[in-house]
């Protein structure tokens, strides 16, 4: 099939026009954290979910709340605790004494944007309930199955500091997150602006600049973003190098990688690469797009061995070495 790049570019330019407006609106409330905002947009456009790791107080809740407000979409924040039950999350059947029938009570998972705060504080059964909802985009309560609203984006957070009394997400579950984003403290000048903004009398509130339909249309347009075969091969090279580094003359890494990225890693790297090109308002993917999202897509999908831990190597260092060794097309 002949691809008309000019046409695609024009369509992407048109469909991505809201990106600048959305960034501007979010920028009113969130100072700095450009990377996190971009990853939120990539997750939103790529129909994926995001696992966020960072210490408390880095505007994680504010970011997703602002995104929801900018779209006038529903938002729920769930604080995961050790005594949380799956029914608290997805809902349950309640007996109505007046009618003498059971009625379905939807849980907080029925929202466009979900912030699953400290997901590793809850036991596996609750995590599984959420992850199933994330994957299937539907929830079964009693005998009825309910579709979740569109768009549906879960941003889960993990606190990297406290490990006591937590239930770390199993590797198979972590793989369901499209991106794992690490956020750090803002720069000094950014923090000064944050401080001034928060102590001012009028805290800015975001305006609605797009609708949920705009996002769904943008998702359709995202599929049109052109990805050349060279880029596809580049993605496969990177993911395969995480599985079999020897194949790419990276023998040194062989003992440090317990297991590499799954096919889901290749798929998500391609989608995230397209979404990155989209938010750059480009109708085609370039290697820079893949490299920009590579760490976020792969850091939770590459497990390191004890030898690597002993050498103080983490998955990011391994991904960096792979990126530094594989030829860019």
């Amino acid at each position: 099939m002949e691809v008309n790049i000019q046409e695609i570019n024009e369509r992407i330019q048109k469909e991505s026009a809201f990106i600048d407006a959305l960034r501007l609106e979010m920028g009113k409330v969130i100072i700095g954290q450009k990377g996190m905002i971009d990853r939120l947009l990539i997750g939103l456009l790529g129909d994926g979910h995001i696992l966020l790791e960072g210490v408390p107080g880095l505007a994680k809740t504010t970011a997703i709340k602002t995104l929801a407000a900018s779209m006038q979409a529903s938002f729920h924040r769930l604080q995961f605790t050790p005594d949380l039950l799956p029914a608290d999350l997805i809902g349950t059947m309640i007996y109505n004494q007046k009618t003498g029938e059971f009625q379905t009570k939807h849980g907080p998972v029925f929202a466009n944007f979900i912030l699953a705060d400290e997901i590793n504080r809850s036991p596996a059964k609750v995590q599984s309930a959420l992850l199933e909802a994330m994957q299937e985009r539907q929830v079964t309560i009693g005998e009825h199955t309910f579709a979740l609203p569109k768009p549906f984006l879960v941003m889960a957070t993990q606190n990297p500091i406290e490990q006591e009394g937590t239930y770390p997400l199993p590797e198979a579950q972590v793989d369901r997150f499209m991106l794992k984003v690490k956020i750090d403290y803002p720069a000094r000048d950014e923090e000064l602006l944050i401080m001034r903004q928060q102590i001012a009398s009028d805290v800015p509130t975001p305006n609605q600049v797009i609708s949920a339909d705009d996002v769904l249309k943008a998702r359709e347009a995202l599929h049109m973003v052109y990805m050349d075969e060279k880029i596809e091969q580049y993605i496969l090279d990177i993911v395969q190098a995480t599985r079999d580094p020897r194949q790419f003359k990276l023998e040194r890494l062989a003992n440090y990688i317990a297991y590499g990225g799954s096919p889901r890693a290749s798929i998500n790297l391609a989608i995230a690469g397209k979404a990155h090109a989209f938010i750059q308002r480009r109708g085609y993917v370039i290697p820079e797009d893949i490299r920009a999202v590579c760490f976020d897509v792969l850091r939770h999908r590459v497990a390191v061995t004890y030898e690597a831990e002993a050498e103080e190597l983490n998955s990011e260092m391994i991904i960096q070495e792979i990126l530094d060794s594989i030829e860019v097309p």
């Binding site: 691809v3 790049i5 570019n9 052109y226 050349d228 060279k230 880029i231 109708g283 085609y284 993917v285 370039i286 290697p287 820079e288 490299r291 990126l323 530094d324 060794s325 594989i326 030829e327 860019v328 097309p329």
Partner: protein, 324 residues
């Protein structure tokens, strides 16, 4: 008459008793030995034919001596008697006059009791080696050197020839490997300076008339691949592993003319568009890619003399800007 009967009775009794008795005799070659010497005991046993005999064959079968070995047992039968002969080798590790006895074990038919037959004690004078304390101490003896025979020399020669053959076959295998494979491993190219390799490759691309035949993508890919490989080898920058947006800031730090860096970026960006966005470059852009690449290589090449001086005096003249 009664007395005669008495004598006959005694004779019969004596014969009957002999028929149920056994005797062990031991003879020796000498009674004086050095401590630890082997002593041969020639044993001879005469016993009823129905008895089951076990000749001495372990340390417990000798008193004051340790069993070493035994020669073949010789057995003879005559009527209701049997005669067994065997030479046992024993040794003694005590000095002085040592009484040594041999014990033969036997059993009788229909009787589960184990009986023993012990020889008379043989007295041996066991002496130790006398030391001549008047002489000085002597060093430990060297390892005994056995002279080499012709077979030893042949074995060494054979092993040497075998190692030589293996080394020769290994060398032949190494040198005959597929040239492409070696090229891939980067073993051939470093022999030539980076600019020579780059200029040869660019000339080859030019002669193939790729863009003139509509193969724009291949043309742009190959030209920029040569350019990136040249930058990597010439300036030791990971240009092959980095995209354009990361190459340009690195090249800008080399101190090259800003116009050159700008043009390099234009050429690489045009190639990116061609490679990833199905862009069809114009004739001017295609010609510019080749012209710029050749000029860039020519202008930034490191002369062989400069390379040699850099190698011989590594601390002087290693500034990249000197050659640019």
């Amino acid at each position: 008459m009664r007395r005669l009967h008495y004598i006959l009775l005694l004779l019969l009794l004596a014969v009957g008793l002999r028929a149920q008795s056994a005797k062990i005799d031991v003879t020796v070659d000498s009674t004086s030995y050095l401590i630890g010497d082997w002593i041969a005991l020639h044993l001879s046993v005469d016993a009823p034919a129905t008895w089951v005999l076990r000749m001495p064959s372990q340390d417990d079968d000798f008193e004051n001596a340790e069993f070493v070995s035994a020669e073949e047992l010789q057995r003879e039968s005559s009527g209701k008697r049997q005669q067994l002969r065997q030479t046992c080798i024993v040794t003694v590790f005590d000095t002085g006059r040592i009484p040594v006895k041999a014990i033969v074990r036997y059993s009788k038919p229909g009787d589960t009791t184990a009986y023993t037959l012990t020889s008379e004690a043989m007295l041996f004078d066991i002496t130790t080696v006398e030391l001549d304390t008047t002489q000085s101490f002597k060093d430990i003896r060297d390892v005994l050197h056995v002279p080499l025979t012709i077979w030893d020399y042949l074995l060494y020669a054979g092993v040497t020839i075998l190692i030589g053959l293996l080394a020769w076959f290994g060398y032949r295998w190494y040198t005959n490997r597929d040239e492409d494979e070696r090229e891939e491993e980067g073993e051939l190219e470093p022999d030539l300076p980076p600019h020579v390799i780059a200029l040869q490759a660019l000339e080859s691309i030019r002669s193939e008339q790729l863009w003139q035949n509509g193969r724009y993508k291949q043309y742009q890919s190959r030209v920029t691949d040569v350019l990136r490989a040249y930058i990597e080898r010439r300036f030791d920058l990971p240009a092959l592993e980095h995209p354009t947006s990361e190459i340009i800031p690195d090249v800008a730090l080399l101190g090259l003319d800003t116009d050159v860096v700008g043009e390099l970026e234009t050429v690489l960006r045009t190639a990116d568009l061609t490679k990833f966005a199905k862009y069809v470059p114009s004739v001017v852009e295609n010609e510019k890619a080749m012209r710029f690449s050749v000029d860039f290589v020519e202008d930034t090449k490191q002369e062989v003399a400069a390379v040699l001086s850099e190698v011989t005096t590594p601390t002087a003249g290693s500034e990249e800007a000197d050659d640019v």
